[in-house]
Subunit: 209 residues, 2 copies
C-alpha cells in the first residue's frame, strides 16, 4: 500500500481543554486520531506513543491489556465525545427543532473538513470496518460507543419535540446518514454529501418535531 502523509485531527466535539492531559489521556487521544485516518489495523502502537509524545514503555504501564485495551478506550472516548457534542449543539439552539439539531451536528463535521481537510473520518466506522468481524469484544465496544452517541441524540430529539417512541429510530437514521455522508465526503474530498443529507432530511425532520 502506498504510504503517504497521514493528516489527522480530532473529531468534531473535541473542543476539550488539552492542557491538563497526562500521557495516558494523550495516548488514548492519539490512538483515536490515528484510527480516524487509517483504521485500527493500520494504527501501530509505536505511532501512537510517538504521536502522544509519551515515554517509551508507558504503553505497557498504562495499558496492560495492550492494543485491544487502548483501542477500546479510544473508541469509547470518541463515542462519549460525540454524545457531548450533541448536547452542545442542542444547548446552542435558540429554538430547538429536529432539523436545526441535525443541521448543527452535521455542520460540526462540515467545518472540521473545511478547516482540516478530509483525511480523518469517524473512528467508529473505521473500527467497524476492519476489526468488528475479527474480534467480538471490540465489536461490542464499538456498539457501546455508538450508544454513547445515539442515546444523547435520542434524548435531544425528544427535547426538540420528537415523540419518544420514534426518537430512537430517527436517531439511528440520522447517525447512519451522517456516517455514510462522512465516508462519501472523505472519498470525494468535498462536503457536498453532508449538504445533501441535510437538504434531503430537513423536510422529513421538519414534520417530525
Amino acid at each position: 500500500m502506498t504510504e503517504g502523509e497521514h493528516g489527522t485531527r480530532a473529531a468534531p466535539g473535541a473542543d476539550e481543554p488539552p492542557a491538563a492531559r497526562g500521557p495516558r489521556e494523550r495516548m488514548v487521544r492519539a490512538a483515536a486520531e490515528l484510527i480516524q485516518s487509517q483504521g485500527v489495523s493500520g494504527t501501530g502502537l509505536r505511532a501512537v506513543v510517538a504521536r502522544a509524545e509519551a515515554p517509551r514503555g508507558s504503553l505497557q504501564h498504562y495499558f496492560p491489556g495492550g492494543k485491544d485495551q487502548l483501542v477500546s478506550e479510544a473508541l469509547r472516548s470518541m463515542g462519549a465525545l460525540a454524545g457531548r457534542g450533541v448536547g452542545r449543539v442542542l444547548a446552542g439552539l435558540e429554538q430547538p427543532s429536529p432539523a436545526a439539531l441535525f443541521a448543527g451536528i452535521v455542520d460540526r463535521w462540515r467545518q472540521a473538513f473545511l478547516a482540516d481537510g478530509f483525511d480523518a473520518g469517524c473512528p467508529l466506522v473505521a473500527a467497524a470496518s476492519d476489526v468488528a468481524a475479527a474480534s467480538d469484544r471490540l465489536r461490542a465496544v464499538i456498539a457501546d460507543a455508538f450508544t454513547l452517541w445515539g442515546e444523547p441524540l435520542t434524548e435531544a430529539l425528544v427535547a426538540a419535540g420528537v415523540d419518544a417512541p420514534r426518537a430512537e429510530q430517527l436517531a439511528t437514521v440520522l447517525i447512519a446518514a451522517l456516517e455514510g455522508a462522512i465516508v462519501l465526503a472523505r472519498v470525494h474530498r468535498d462536503v457536498g454529501p453532508l449538504d445533501a443529507v441535510v437538504a434531503e432530511l430537513t423536510p422529513l425532520l421538519e414534520v417530525a418535531g
Copy 2:
C-alpha cells in the same frame, strides 16, 4: 488485535455465475471479500491467493502493480456489481417508485446479513476508512467505484419518477443512509438499522417520485 474467524461473503448483487472464473477473477473476488470483513490494511496477499485457490506466483503474474492494483480492481468491480444490483432491483419492480427501489436495494443487504451473518460490510467503506487518507490514488479509485454505484441509482430514481436535477442528490443520500446502516447493523449484529432507514425514508421517497 485478537485474531478470529473471518467469515466473508460476496456482496448483495454477487449473483453472477462463478463457474467460468479464472484465477485472475477469483483473486479479484477474494480480495473484495476479504476487504469486506477486515479492511484493506488487514487483507494480506497470501490470504487472497489462498482464498482464491490460485497458483503461487500468479499474483505477480496477473497484478504486476501489486496490492494497489489488486485492491483497485476489487473495489471497482464491487462498485460495478452494486450498480448492476440497482438495475436488477428496478427490473424486478412491477410498479417502479423511489420508495420501492430503495426498499429493494436495502433488502438485498438485509437478506445477505440474515443468511450469512454480519461479518462482511461494504468494501468501499472499509477502503475509505483505512487507505483513502494515505493513498490519493486509491482514494480516487474508491470515488470512481462509488460513482459506478451512484450513477445507475440516479438513473433508476429518474426512471422511478424523480426529477433529474434532484435525483443525483437523492442517490447520494440513499447511499449514505444505507452505508451507515450497514455499519450499524454489523456492529449491533442486527438488521434493525436497515429497517429503520427504510421506515424513516419511505415517506420522503413517496413524495419524491
